[in-house]
Every structure is written in structure tokens, then in C-alpha cells.
């Protein structure tokens, strides 16, 4: 049995030298007794056994995770730390993966110690309070704090305070030493200090804040105690207010309830400005109402759309996305519904599919500004998946609910040609039985409900094709179909205006509704 005597505040470097020697001497953990100088047992044997001195080449090895763990736990105040660290060092010679086995009793104990140290350091950063020392001679402001850490953490926390309070001089005193910053120079020692007598006027303001931010209707002292353990309270002056705060809480809540039981008139005068503001709100509301009433054409439609709640989609979408483009545009393009980006911007075709559309429009020589772009459904339909919104194809309910808006847009814009993008837009115009494959790519004659129309794919379809070759082919086909639309419009330029629906659109006459 070998006794090794260490100072009570011995950290990693001191322990390492002894541990290295013990390891070299081949001493198993059971053969070593680690004792702290001044401890009771040590007094019986004041002398350390003949010190071990390292001989020859270093033996043993240590992995990085193991080293980090041991460095940390040697900051713990428990004298057991020396023996535990040696046991882990010894065992890891044979079991290199030991630190990864969190369920091992030694590792378990070490990780717990490590956690306690981190928590202590965190609480020191949180609960330490500076008090100002007024010193007219100095150009920098000076502050002093007293704190009682549980473990040897001064070295760990020093950089935090140095960085945070770099424009002032400060001194942190503790029973295990001090850290000081003077003109930005940091010094640290381990000489025990005593609590200084200090007062600071700002503390009164802080106490007032502490009392006022407390909500007397929610009492959760267990939560408070677990996060702010009582052992820290003696250096947190605001905690002296807690008993009174708790004692008054019940009365304050009862007073609030009693006040609410009274009818409003009995509580006294409502502030005069309330009536003024209410009048102002009514005036603003009337003004807004008059503004909307005064609108005509597409702006009126957009304003009306904003209040649309014909289906549930308005509840979670950011906003309605009305069509965009000039009234009287010769070409109207109808997509399916706004996507994530369109929903956020409030403008159609500004997301990834919009970028594809822009690219192809440019390629075929159609100016986007000349086209009226809109969607069959005006609100974004999605399911939330974690941090993303996944697009969902609108159902019949939504299509039917939204159809009158589209009919009104067609009536107001009076395009000579409609290009439907994708199956949803096609079916909105032609009914649920329409198949994109059978009508795609050619201009179909006007019907009672719509002007001439051409069906093609939705640009998002091109984005979903996994095969690059195929995507290129499909994009070329999409472009050809837009060229067909363009050519049709050009050849039709001198023809008479299209016989689009010029009667008031009837919301009941959704063409796809059977019967």
C-alpha cells in the first residue's frame, strides 16, 4: 500500500506527476491511497511515504477524451477525485474505449462530477454580483464581487469575465483565490479571501425590478429553488425579498379577483384617452372601408380577396396571393396555388418554380410583365413537417371555393388566351375529368366559360424530374408549348377580341361541378 499526499487544491498538473509515477511503478488502484494534506487520516501519518520519482521513459498512454475528462474532474472539490482519476487512467490502459461507456460506474461518477463543475461555473457567471467602488482617481470604473464557488473553477471562468467586462477594472474575491482585471490585464491567485463590506446604490433599483417582474399569481418555488439553489442565496441580496414577496402574493391575487368582481363603473374612471383612441380606430376603419369601396377592377378584387374565408386555408397561410399583371393582358397564365415563397412574399411565381418559369419565358421571348399570372387557389395549402412546409395539392373543396375568384379575374383581365400550368389549373377550367395528356400543347377554342386556352405542365414538374437529361427534354417541350401560345397570340393579333365571358361571373356556375 502506497500513500500519496496532495495539497487540498491540487489540480491536474500536480496529480498528473504523481499518477504518472504510480503508473510507472505498476501500482494498481487498490495499492494506492490518495490523501489530502491536513485531512484527518493524514494527521496520523503526517509524512508521505517515500515519494515516487519517475524513472526512465514515460509509460502508459491516454486518449484525448479521457484526458479532457480527467482534466475536468480534477477541478472538483471532492478529495475522492484523485483516486477516481487514477482508477480511470489505470483501467483505460487496458480498456481504451472506457470514456465512451457512459454506463460504467467510474465513468458515470466522473461525468457527474464534470457536470457539477460545469454547473458551478455556469452559476458563478450567473449569480456573481459586482458592486461599484467609487474612485475618483481612476479613469476606469471599478467593481468588486464576492463569490463562493463549490469547485476549483476560477481558471475556467476568468476568460468569461475578462471578455465581458473589458472596459472596467474589476476584482473577484473568493475563499479559494481571486481574479482581477486592471487596465485589461488579468491576474489570478489562489490565496483565500474574505467577504468584503460593500454597498452599491444601484442595488436598490435592481431589487425594485426583482419584485416587480415577479408574477404573484404563479407560485413555483420548486422551480426557483432547483435553478437557484438555496446555498447561493447568501450572496444574492435580492433573495432576502422572497419571503415578503411570497407572503404578499396571495393578498395581491385576491385583490385582483375582488376588483374584477366589481362592475366596471365601480372601479373608477376609464382613462380619457381611451375614448379618443376608440374614436380614432372607428375613423380609421371607416376610412379603410371607404377606400376599399372606392376601388374598382383588379385592385377591388385584390382587396376583396384579402378577406376571403371560403375555405380553411386562410387560417394558416400567411396571406392571400392575388394574381399579378396588367389588366387587359393578352395572355393569362394559371398555376395551381402559391408555394412557400409566394405565401411569404404575397406575389405569385417568385419561388423556385417561378424561377423556372422566368427562365423559359425569357427564352421564348415573352415578357413576364406583359402576362397576368395567377393561381387556381389563392392560399397556400401545406402540411408542417418540422421546420418545413410541405406543399399539398388542393382538394375539390378548395378548388370549388376559390373558383369564383378565378372567374372574376378572367372577366376583369379578359385575356385573349389562357395558358394553364399543370393538371389542377386545367381541371379548374375544364372540370375534374380533363386529362392533361390528351389536351396538352394545342390551343383549344373558347367556350362559354373561358377564352381560347392551352394546357401545359406546371414548371414545378420540371424541378421534380430526377434525371437531368429528361428534365432538359421536358423543359424544351414546355418552351415549345409556350412558343405555340406566343405564335397563336401573334397570328391572332388582328382578329376580333375573344368572346370571353363578359357577363357578371356567377359564383354558382363552377364548370366542373357535376349536375
Amino acid at each position: 500500500m502506497k500513500r500519496i499526499l496532495l495539497p487540498a487544491d491540487a489540480g491536474f498538473p500536480v496529480w498528473r506527476d504523481r499518477a504518472r509515477a504510480a503508473l510507472q511503478a505498476g501500482l494498481a488502484p487498490g495499492d494506492v491511497v490518495w490523501q489530502v494534506q491536513g485531512a484527518e487520516q493524514a494527521e496520523l501519518f503526517p509524512e508521505e511515504d517515500a515519494p515516487l520519482s519517475p524513472v526512465g521513459e514515460a509509460v502508459g498512454h491516454i486518449t484525448r477524451p479521457c484526458l479532457v475528462l480527467l482534466e475536468s474532474i480534477l477541478r472538483h472539490s471532492d478529495p475522492e477525485r484523485f483516486a477516481l482519476a487514477y482508477r480511470i487512467l489505470w483501467r483505460s490502459q487496458q480498456e481504451p474505449h472506457l470514456p465512451a461507456i457512459a454506463t460504467d460506474p467510474d465513468i458515470r461518477q466522473a461525468t457527474q462530477m464534470d457536470r457539477q463543475i460545469r454547473r458551478d461555473a455556469h452559476k458563478m457567471k450567473a449569480f456573481l454580483r459586482f458592486r461599484e467602488v467609487v474612485d475618483d482617481a481612476s479613469t476606469r470604473r471599478r467593481f468588486i464581487a464576492w463569490f463562493e464557488p463549490e469547485h476549483f473553477i476560477l481558471e475556467t471562468v476568468a476568460p468569461f469575465f475578462a471578455e465581458r467586462f473589458s472596459d472596467m477594472d474589476w476584482l473577484i474575491l473568493t475563499p479559494i483565490g481571486a481574479i482581477a482585471a486592471c487596465d485589461g490585464r488579468i491576474t489570478r491567485d489562489s490565496e483565500p479571501r474574505e467577504a468584503p463590506e460593500l454597498t452599491d446604490d444601484v442595488e436598490g433599483l435592481w431589487h425594485r425590478y426583482y419584485q416587480s417582474i415577479f408574477n404573484p399569481a404563479r407560485i413555483k418555488t420548486k422551480a426557483m429553488r432547483s435553478e437557484m439553489p438555496v446555498r447561493y442565496w447568501k450572496n444574492l441580496p435580492e433573495t432576502r425579498l422572497i419571503p415578503t414577496m411570497l407572503a404578499d402574493a396571495g393578498k395581491r391575487v385576491a385583490a385582483m379577483a375582488a376588483q374584477q368582481a366589481e362592475d366596471s363603473a365601480a372601479r373608477g374612471e376609464i382613462p380619457a384617452f381611451h375614448a379618443r383612441h376608440q374614436a380614432e380606430w372607428s375613423r380609421r376603419k371607416a376610412e379603410e372601408h371607404a377606400r376599399v369601396e372606392g376601388l374598382e377592377g383588379l385592385p377591388a378584387l385584390a382587396a376583396a380577396l384579402r378577406g376571403c374565408d371560403r375555405c380553411d386555408l386562410c387560417r394558416h397561410a400567411t396571406q392571400v396571393v392575388p394574381g399579378a399583371g396588367p389588366a387587359g393582358a393578352a395572355l393569362m397564365m394559371i398555376g395551381e396555388q402559391p408555394g412557400d415563397q409566394e405565401d411569404l412574399h404575397g406575389t405569385p411565381f417568385v419561388g423556385p418554380a417561378g424561377a423556372v418559369l422566368d427562365r423559359v419565358l425569357e427564352r421564348v421571348g415573352i415578357a413576364r410583365e406583359s402576362v397576368y399570372l395567377t393561381n387556381a387557389v389563392k392560399h397556400f395549402k401545406f402540411v408542417s413537417k418540422g421546420r418545413r412546409r410541405i406543399h399539398q395539392t388542393p382538394g375539390r373543396t378548395e378548388l370549388v371555393a376559390c373558383s369564383p375568384w378565378l372567374q372574376q379575374e378572367i372577366a376583369l383581365v379578359r385575356p385573349r388566351l389562357i395558358v394553364t400550368l399543370g393538371a389542377t389549373a386545367l381541371q379548374t377550367l375544364e372540370g375534374p375529368s380533363a386529362r392533361l395528356g390528351s389536351v396538352r400543347g394545342r390551343v383549344r377554342d373558347a367556350t362559354a366559360q373561358r377564352p381560347p386556352s392551352l394546357a401545359t405542365v406546371h414548371p414545378s414538374y420540371l424541378l421534380r424530374l430526377p434525371d437531368a437529361q429528361r428534365a432538359q427534354e421536358e423543359e424544351a417541350r414546355f418552351a415549345r408549348e409556350l412558343i405555340a401560345a406566343r405564335d397563336w397570340l401573334e397570328s391572332d393579333r388582328d382578329a376580333a377580341p375573344s368572346p370571353g365571358p363578359d357577363r357578371e361571373p356567377d359564383p354558382g356556375s363552377f364548370p366542373s361541378e357535376p349536375g
Binding site: H97, A102, T103, R108, K125, A126, L128, R129, F130, A145, F160, R164, F165, S166, G184, V202, E203, L205, R208, Y209, Y210, S212, I213, F214, N215, P216, A217, R218, I219, K220, A223, M224, E227, M228, I242, M245, L246, M256, A257, Q259, Q260, S264, R267, E269, P271, F273, H274, H277, R315, H316, A317, T318, D340, L344, F382, S384, G386, R387, R388, R389
Partner: protein
């Protein structure tokens, strides 16, 4: 007579305390203190004190003023309330923030305000505080600004430049609730403003813009919001659905749930009752399950007929009891995703199990050593020395986890 600074601090912090948000964390990276300046920002926030309501004090949470042109029923500052009114000057807020910060009372400032004159005027004042703290006083601590939904875009832009976090409160879980309690507010406007914040945050986090220019800094700590729980009749399902839409649509860092709590001079339309603290707690647990355990909001309430979370047990245990077919799991084989769904196991213990089982086979005692509640875990797992057998199918399994009925006292 003009009120003292201390009196005004009392009024304006009392008026601010119903906003649950307190986090000083959430920024992607910590900010180093700079020579000549004051303050730094820790990656994980620091709570400098706790009050007996169990909430932490991390930031100086105050209003610029508690005058307000809105008359929202649930709010202590509504225009028809008879509370005392006052305001701070920009300089006063800055002074208190800096002096509190120097004494290590706080991590920074959470500044909000009643809306006075106009949205733009109010926002301008809030931005002025942040701008002067940053530029004139070289303050590098945390700043959270409440954003006024209708404020002009350039003000929002500037707010994002100086603040770490911006927030807009949705207040009520449903649009109908907002309409009933805050007739002057518009749920659509609120969502649109959050959409604007998200687009700006997205832009700032993409390293470069198309033109190769580096995007301006914009609220690196993201945005958050708050919903009031228990003032209206919304169910937990309504609330969690809103949360799902908020997290996915606006990339919120946090949704705060605030149990509606009595306020002085409360409106007559409000319930007179103690704040539903346990319900609030369960909602936070459900939120946690989504953010850290891979659950979706929908599945957490899927089996609850009334749309309310079970108050008697945590929602993860409740979910497991409703989905027993998936259990028991072999602790030595199951994947991370499923282990996270075992009641009693958290992300930390799951990591420890995954790391340890690569080197040895885990037994019940190993799991116990991780300070896991065995009572909770046992029915749902299998180890070489433990199998729950029929336990998992027992009809009264749920009963074992409910609190024991308290015996009525005779006196």
C-alpha cells in the same frame, strides 16, 4: 409630480412581465466582447436570478411606455385599463441597461412598448435604444426588441441590424380568438410581418446575395412569439396546430406559451381563475418533443378526443401508452429515432446508450446508472436481463402512472 426612476421601473416592468420570453440564447455563435466595449453573448443564455414564480431573469424586461392605443382585452396595458401610466426616455432605458449589466444582473435588454401615436413612432423609439446601445455605448450584450407589426420596412431592417432577436406575439392561438379579444389587431398582418422577418433572416443567413454582396446582419438570434393559453376556449390541439404552422412557416426559434394570469383591472370578458400552469407545462413538453425528440405536433394530440393533453402524465408517456404496438424496444438494437420515443429517455441518455452499447451489451443496471426513471422506462424496453412480458398490454398500465388519488381530509 414626476415619478422617480425607481417608481417608473416598477410600473414598466410590472407591465412587461406577462411576456414569457426571456431567452438570451439562440444566436448561432457567441459574440466575443470587444476591447473598449461592454458585454459579450454566451452561446447558451444565462439566467441571472429566479423569482418565486419559477421564471428566470435573464434580461431587463421593460416597456418603453405602458400607454397604448390598442384595447386588447387580455392585456394589462389596454387603453381602457385604469393602471398608472408612465414612460421612460431612451436615455433612461440605456442607463439602467448598462448599469445592471455592469453589475452582472442581466444578459441584456428585452424592450417592448405600448403603441403610442403610431406604429412607426413607437418602433423608431425602440430602434433608437438599440442603435445607441450598440453604436454610442459599444454594448455587445443581448438585445431583444419587440416588433410592431405595421412598422415601416426600413425600421424593421434597422431593428434587425442591432437586435439579436425580434419577436411579434400572435397572442391568441386562433384567429377567431384574436378577433374577439383584440378587435383592433389583425391576425393576417401579424403573420405577414412574421413572414417578412423570416425572409430577412433567411437572406442574412445565406452567406452571399446573388450579386456577391454580403447580406446585412439581421437578427442572428432569430424570431420568437408568444401565445396566451387559457384566456379563450382554444384546445391544446388548436394551440399545437398553430405552433406547427408558426415553426414551419416562419422558422421561429421559440414559441412561448403563457398561461393566462390575472391582471389588475382585468376586463370583464376574461376568466377569473388561477393561471393554468400545469397545462402550460404540458404544452412546453409537447413543444420540446417536437423540437428535440422528432415528434410531430399532430401525432401528440392525435388520440386525444377532446383535443387536450393529459394533465396527469407527460405527453411523451401518454403517446407511448397510446402506441404500445411499437414497444417494447430492444435497448441494444433500437435506432436513435425510436429510443428517443421511449418514455423516460432523453436526448442525453440516448446518446450515452448509443455510445456505450458499441462496446458492451447493456443491462437494466446500466440504464439505471444513467439516472433514468426505471419505473417509467421498464414497460417499454427489453434488455438481456429484462422483458416487460405482458406488462405492456395491461389495461391498467396507464393507471400506474397517474397520480394516486389523494385521500380526503376529514377536517
Amino acid at each position: 409630480m414626476k415619478k422617480t426612476l425607481s417608481e417608473r421601473l416598477e410600473i414598466l416592468s410590472d407591465a412587461a412581465k406577462y411576456d414569457a420570453s426571456c431567452a438570451s440564447s439562440g444566436a448561432a455563435s457567441s459574440r466575443k466582447g470587444k476591447e473598449g466595449g461592454l458585454g459579450s453573448k454566451a452561446t447558451n443564455g444565462i439566467c441571472h436570478a429566479y423569482t418565486p414564480d419559477g421564471r428566470c431573469i435573464s434580461l431587463l424586461k421593460v416597456l418603453m411606455t405602458n400607454f397604448c392605443i390598442y384595447d386588447c382585452a387580455y392585456c394589462i396595458n389596454r387603453s381602457s385599463s385604469r393602471i398608472e401610466r408612465t414612460r421612460f426616455s431612451v436615455e433612461e432605458i440605456i442607463w439602467i441597461t448598462l448599469e445592471f449589466y455592469r453589475r452582472n444582473y442581466i444578459e441584456g435588454l428585452f424592450l417592448s412598448s405600448g403603441v403610442i401615436r403610431s406604429s412607426d413612432y413607437t418602433m423608431e423609439e425602440l430602434v433608437r435604444v438599440a442603435r445607441e446601445l450598440r453604436l454610442k455605448h459599444h454594448f455587445h450584450g443581448y438585445i431583444h426588441l419587440k416588433t410592431i407589426p405595421d412598422a415601416a420596412p426600413h425600421l424593421i431592417e434597422e431593428a434587425g441590424l442591432y437586435a439579436d432577436r425580434l419577436s411579434i406575439n400572435v397572442e391568441m392561438p386562433t384567429e377567431a380568438g384574436l378577433q374577439a379579444y383584440a378587435p383592433e389587431k389583425d391576425a393576417g398582418h401579424i403573420r405577414q410581418s412574421m413572414g417578412v422577418l423570416r425572409l430577412k433572416i433567411d437572406e442574412a443567413t445565406t452567406d452571399r446575395t446573388f450579386s456577391g454582396r454580403r447580406a446585412r446582419r439581421f437578427a442572428p438570434g432569430g424570431q420568437s412569439t408568444q401565445m396566451i393559453v387559457g384566456a379563450d376556449l382554444s384546445s391544446d390541439r388548436d394551440i399545437l396546430r398553430s405552433s406547427a404552422a408558426l415553426y414551419s412557416g416562419y422558422q421561429l426559434r421559440r414559441v412561448y406559451y403563457s398561461a393566462f394570469s390575472p391582471i389588475p383591472d382585468a376586463s370583464l370578458v376574461l376568466p377569473v381563475k388561477a393561471p393554468p400552469l400545469l397545462r402550460e407545462h404540458r404544452l412546453y413538453q409537447a413543444d420540446w418533443m417536437v423540437r428535440f425528440y422528432g415528434f410531430s405536433f399532430e401525432e401528440i394530440v392525435a388520440e386525444r378526443r377532446d383535443g387536450m393533453l393529459d394533465l396527469d402524465m407527460d405527453p411523451k408517456l401518454a403517446w407511448a401508452l397510446q402506441n404500445r404496438a411499437l414497444f417494447p424496444l430492444d435497448i441494444n438494437r433500437a435506432g436513435r429515432e425510436m429510443l428517443l420515443r421511449v418514455p423516460g429517455l432523453g436526448p442525453r441518455s440516448v446518446e450515452a446508450l448509443l455510445s456505450a452499447r458499441r462496446h458492451c451489451s447493456l443491462r437494466l443496471a446500466d440504464i439505471e446508472r444513467l439516472k433514468v426513471s426505471l419505473r417509467k422506462v421498464k414497460p417499454f424496453i427489453v434488455t438481456p436481463d429484462w422483458s416487460p412480458g405482458r406488462m405492456i398490454d395491461r389495461v391498467d398500465l396507464a393507471q400506474r402512472f397517474r397520480p394516486q388519488p389523494a385521500q380526503m381530509s376529514l377536517l
